[in-house]
Assembly symmetry: C2
Homo-oligomer: 379 residues x 2
């Protein structure tokens, strides 16, 4: 039921229908290369998170840059990724229920597939699904490193869970999942460093407990765009899972570096292209993008190149720009570029990414159109 794309290859950016997701291909490629280079320099593997882009095409570009595979959060995402040619997918999440486990086990015939477990209650169901498929599934034991979401307690409880996984012939204990989600957007460098320092302590006691149990731990996975430098340099994690770096959120760019200034390691490569619908009232302009076109859960989008214009009061299909401090007021029909506050759920609202070359030039053109193939893959 996907609608046709809002552009065709070859047209100028100005002719792309709105609202539309625009990828600055030049910035995107620099982001891909930069993260690959960082992982290389840190001496760790890179397994980028595909929940950001939901695109096998982008996943394959990440793999071409040296990534060992990708992560995703849902079995249905894994299916779309494997169908698109991705050879190695970790579902970095718990998978609950026979329907999903059977699908994942079946998928493991076509690609290397692993998943996370954080409770003994899931071991039998997972092992039986693998048995029914005649396959062995890789399992990471997820530990709670401070995010207080999923994950078993570190140390002995995690090691005991690993031992029970390892006892199942159809499961293979593949390591630890140690992702600290709530650390990613802590604003100061010191807060993020401290949070990952504590997470490292929790991984360390778990590694010690595993060693006492005689269990090898081939992978310690985790990290996101906000903290990967800490995990990468820790000597503990050996597989990084950042996702947002390819597009770079507005919100991530509000994180501060060691010098107290906003981090600038990655460039904004994802934009929402919008049109001004209405300018009645001297204080405002109304654009054609509200909750159904941009996710506002991590702050409202920033507006490129219109100093003083502030997005506020979103409704389902509209956003209101407060222009009281803007001297360059847009007119009806003007097209604007927004930086989404949070890329992942914004991408999930759209069926297409419109790839543009020369975005900073006088004459940017559409050169690629990518389906958001796993959009809506929530199962």
């Amino acid at each position: 039921m996907a609608l046709p794309p809002p552009a065709v290859v070859g047209i100028p950016l100005a002719d792309v229908d709105t609202p539309a997701l625009i990828v600055d291909l030049d910035a995107f490629e620099r982001n891909l290369a930069r993260m690959a280079g960082r992982a290389n320099a840190l001496g760790v593997r890179l397994r980028p998170h595909a929940k950001t882009h939901k695109s096998p095409l982008i996943a394959m570009k990440q793999i071409a840059h040296g990534a060992v595979g990708v992560c995703c959060q849902k079995v249905s995402e894994a299916e779309v990724l494997v169908a698109g040619g991705v050879p190695d997918v970790l579902v970095s999440n718990e998978v609950v229920g026979r329907v999903k486990l059977d699908r994942l086990a079946a998928l493991s015939r076509a690609a290397r597939v692993a998943l996370c477990i954080d409770t003994t209650a899931l071991i039998r169901d997972t092992a039986e699904a693998a048995e029914r498929a005649g396959m062995q599934l890789g399992v990471l034991v997820e530990i709670d490193v401070g995010g207080r979401r999923c994950g078993i307690a570190p140390g002995a409880p995690a090691a005991e869970l690993a031992r029970l996984v390892d006892r199942e012939p159809s499961l293979r204990f593949a390591g630890l999942q140690a992702y600290h989600g709530s650390a990613q957007h802590k604003r100061t460098h010191g807060e993020r460093r401290a949070a990952i320092g504590e997470a490292a302590d929790r991984v360390r006691v778990t590694l010690d407990a595993l060693e006492r149990s005689g269990l090898a731990c081939e992978t310690v996975g985790g990290a996101g765009t906000g903290t990967f430098e800490f995990e990468g340099a820790s000597g503990i994690w050996n597989e990084l899972q950042p996702g947002s770096y390819v597009f770079m959120d507005g919100d991530y760019a509000r994180n501060l570096g060691p010098d107290g200034r906003p981090v600038d390691s990655f460039e904004h490569a994802l934009f929402l292209h919008v049109t001004v619908l209405s300018t009645n009232g001297s204080d405002r302009a109304v654009i054609d993008a509200g909750h159904k076109a941009v996710s506002n859960d991590s702050g409202f989008p920033d507006i490129v190149g219109r100093s003083g214009a502030v997005y506020h009061r979103p409704s389902d299909e509209h956003g209101v720009l407060d222009l009281t401090r803007c001297n360059d007021r847009p007119r009806v029909g003007d097209k604007l570029r927004l930086i989404p506050g949070h890329c992942d759920p914004t991408v999930n609202l759209h069926d297409w990414c419109i790839g543009v070359r020369g975005l900073g030039s006088a004459d940017p053109h559409v050169t690629e159109i990518w389906p958001v193939a796993a959009r809506g893959a929530v199962f």
Copy 2:
């Protein structure tokens, strides 16, 4: 690229994969009949808003209950609705740009189509698109009745705009669009009544100005689920545009009636069916539904039948339930039912609505599966 539905007709609700949108068909049908009855009793036309459900199938049920047609907000929604058989669609929004105007004018060959205009700058573009298609387009002049979003100033400016529309042979001045969005969720009955009272004053001065210009005003459209009783009883509006009543938001149900108690005119008919993924930590359970499965812009979802369990800390694919005050703690694998805070953007996240009969019974079953055909129709 839509994924297959998370259910097949005939299976028990317990076997529906999660997260999934569930429609309580019994409550849904009562809501349809109740709103039709209210419009009838008020002596006004009903043109429900299809932006809530994005489904021609549901639109046709509303029309079968007496609605004169439906509204939507986007040209691409109108296309999907007309393709699904809907004979009369109002785009209750400004339509900007030649691409969209040409598509809407072309669509007017297949169905009765109208749109809104709130500035003279749009008249020529709209008229030319209608001329190119060899059609006449209906135009409502949108006035700002207090929402400070789109809409020209009431009174003389609106009447002058109507006069300019009426002068174009390819356009037909069809009336006023007078929707007060921000009044819908004002909490007390008195606040909503006062807001619509002020809106009525703004419509009245506009009707007076139109009369002085010798322009007939066949339609005054507006109203939503939160305020339609006021518009309907005003003697001014003659076409009501509520949308949410079919499903009924968690947030709408927090509106208070004249007795100071929550309104109960419509029933919750839309639910998110979810699974518990993890219960590590004595204070919480983690479910498989975050920002990508439920919209949190108007408050977090409520949880049905687990007193004291509170949804909080949503992330992209997870929601955390605070169980510190819950005595009936869910276990891993349990399925729960959530009432979305805001139905419209939640529906837009899903490809399918799973229709269930006997939801309150011991053995609810899937009896219908409806595509959210205009999901992602943001253009």
